[in-house]
Symmetry: C2
Subunit: 473 residues, 2 copies
């Protein structure tokens, strides 16, 4: 008998877990946008817009947000430490960056920035992160509890890998959801237990709704192990109130749920009446220590004022797991050896930035404030613009870098979508892309369930070069 | 009823797949070495050696191998593209590196090195990799088939995720094995089907042995989907002959197995009578195209002459999967958004290095040759040194950066190990570490099964600073 490749892997014989999830930010619309872009390259002027504006992914630097100078100078010096021995370097780099790079290089294995590091990340960089967390929260943080990671997504995947044993294990996740969560839960063989955020309540989290979902899941035989909370919200942009956070902490503590706190937008808050508080800080303020509640907090350098998405830097802080569990997590982390060094360095810089008195402090603060103001202004402009359009409503964007407006499509549009075998929101997003070159993600990509609400996901990331479209820098 | 954290995750309730694998290169010996290091920091002079020599992991730059200047210059410039607009830059960087960095930056989304890229990696960098592969093999390579990855380990994990559906799916792997494979197979819920390499045949791969293992696995009810071949071998250092490779290609084709070709040591070959040939080249030379056989080749910048382990750069080239399977792979890759940009750049540089005529060509070649010669010399010295010791034998090290000697321990040592509840090879490795500061991995960490053979895993990576121990630069 003769075999051929079809015996080994086809779309029919691929791991089915891979097939059943979707990841819409990189899905149908993104592919459609790429096709248009190629078409426009071949026939310039063939569309009524000069280029595609990719609002389908939170990717600030792709839309012109500039990186923080201090961060890039330090990275550049750490990549090429020979520069630290040359006088001319002082003409090109700030003394501040030179000092920091020297300090980082000296703490590296072999004083070299190209070796595998500890799987958790270089100790001195974890110390910098821990001290940044302690300064932010006013509560201690230990480098042993910090895992530097290739962005938040690897940290989230690792957490799911640790927690999920089988389909009988559930994880509570907000809806509309950032689809990384459903993808990761499905890939690790577990069950997502969605809870609805309240659009009428500014995308707030209502604890009775979460409780209802937890109880239903338990009745269905699931062991619910953890609750994901995204604050500020992705894709919904809300910032939770402290009172609401306290309720959530109490709830998770009482129900024995690990809190998976996605706090990657902690530096993206745009309204006066809301402030970011980490869940660890809220728990500690309530008097709960690690014996009372387990909290994993995720953060990254992709958003905030750094916007260094492609550098894949991030961390998770794990509080309240036993030493034996921590050992297992370290072992799993060691399978991919270590997080990338550039991302490790950036993460330490973002959590331990220049301080008052450092030579580059003023410049750093000015760059940071410029980005913050621009984002805040556009968050406001975008939400008001949507709300002023016929058939569209949009909650205010309190934080993160997304707007999630609601679109009331006419019956004829819904019918036309049906005729093309598309969901109405995908149909709308395709038409929008064809007419304007703006790529957005349909709300169904975030598993927004109510059948007659149509959502769009529109980025409000800081962009200098493409202000034509976002128009409010 | 009041719950607490112990309800949610403990060593008893963690995903059991996480518990059952081991990863010895970062395991017991590594932890013991770190404890010693801390002890020596507190009480200098407390041990008869000044520092720990970490030979437990292939980590060249940690032992003093210097990075390639051109690589680091380009990285440094891409991190801080502002340098490309300054005249002073020419005093610090070669024109060669400036040109390449400019070319790379211009091909990036938003001309910025901090944005998410395509999940497969930046197209221009994949083109560079594909052209490097084509030049190496003399057969075409397409950028669509290249996935840039965070080192080879993420690529291997992704492949297992795609292939493995359940415990009934098996993957053939060599023994002694690089334990990433068993870890990844276990974590993805599959079954490893080991085949023994022949120590008496210079760690060669005997096709009848593989066939025997495949047949046994099939009788046991497994669907064997793929065969892992590591060439040059890790941890065993053999380089396969073309004849042997041809047999393997024929075997996989006939049996319908996906070839997972771990080719990360392709630039580490030290003997005149062996040369590296990619499995794709061998298959194409036999006249087989992608309709005949599926091959995934893994490579990284961690080894070879670059030794950039911590930068986490690598690629996989996938040939012979259908378009629908490729789409699923792209979707899975998009869940972690994109590989880190520094690693992507390095991978393109390693596969598309300076050419004859480029200003920095000579310097690049001199650095590369220096590293190659040093590694080749030490590979030889180390294997002869082991073979000259009483109770030790060692095959020649043809490639990779490891020696895998066999140690015949006396009965008393085996008894002493038993008394301490350790495997004899772990016992020996601990004693070696305590007496000399050299950390090696016991052979059992590579799942070497024969009960009375004791193996040590000794790094032969290029090291300038620590030649005291390796003594042969």
């Amino acid at each position: 008998m003769s075999y051929n490749k079809t015996a080994s892997i086809t779309a029919e014989t691929i791991n089915p877990k891979v097939k059943i999830f979707d990841y819409e930010p990189c899905g149908e619309i993104a592919r459609h946008a790429e096709r248009l872009e190629q078409e426009m390259e071949k026939s310039p002027g063939s569309r009524p817009f000069p280029e595609i504006t990719y609002c389908n992914l939170g990717n600030p630097q792709a839309l012109g947000q500039r990186p923080i100078t201090f961060f890039r100078e330090v990275l550049s010096l750490c990549d090429n430490p020979a520069l630290l021995r040359r006088d001319e370097t002082r003409m090109l780099f700030s003394p501040c960056a030179i000092n920091r790079a020297r300090k980082i290089i000296e703490s590296m294995p072999g004083r070299n920035s190209g070796a595998y590091t500890n799987s958790q990340g270089i100790r001195s960089l974890r110390e910098a992160v821990a001290s940044g967390i302690a300064a932010r929260d006013g509560f201690p943080s230990r480098p042993e509890d910090i895992f530097l990671t290739d962005g938040a997504s690897s940290a989230i995947n690792l957490s799911m890998q640790i927690l999920i044993r089988s389909q009988e294990d559930g994880v509570l996740c907000p809806l509309p959801e950032y689809p990384l969560y459903s993808a990761s839960i499905i890939l690790h063989g577990g069950t997502m237990v969605p809870y609805n955020l309240s659009e009428d309540g500014d995308w707030g989290l209502e604890i009775f709704e979460v409780k209802r979902c937890l109880e239903e899941a338990r009745i269905a035989g699931l062991t619910v192990r953890a609750m994901v909370i995204i604050n500020p919200g992705n894709p919904t942009g809300q910032v939770l109130s402290v009172t609401n956070q306290e309720e959530i902490v109490e709830f998770c503590r009482k129900e024995g749920l690990v809190m998976l706190a996605d706090e990657v937008y902690q530096d993206n808050v745009y309204v006066e009446d809301r402030k970011f508080h980490s869940f660890k800080k809220v728990a500690r303020s309530l008097g709960y220590d690690e014996n009372d509640i387990s909290i994993v907090s995720f953060h990254s350098v992709s958003m905030g004022f750094s916007g260094e998405c492609g550098r894949r830097g991030g961390y998770m802080e794990i509080c309240g797991f036993g030493d034996d569990v921590m050992d297992e997590i370290r072992k799993v982390a060691s399978v991919t050896l270590c997080p990338n060094i550039g991302g490790q360095i950036l993460t330490s810089l973002a959590m331990d930035p220049p301080k008052l008195g450092d030579g580059c402090f003023e410049n750093f603060m000015a760059e940071k404030e410029d980005i913050r103001l621009s984002l805040a202004k556009r968050a406001k402009t975008l939400a008001s613009a949507f709300s002023s359009l016929e058939g569209m409503t949009c909650n205010r964007v309190e934080g993160a870098i997304y707007a999630f407006p609601r679109i009331h499509l006419p019956a004829a549009a819904i019918k036309a979508a049906k005729a093309e075998g598309m969901s109405p929101d995908l149909f709308y997003a395709c038409r929008l892309l064809d007419a304007t070159g703006i790529a957005v993600v349909p709300g169904s990509g975030f598993h927004q369930v109510s059948p007659f609400l149509f959502y769009l996901f529109i980025r409000t990331a800081s962009g200098r070069k493409k202000k034509r479209v976002l128009s409010s820098t």
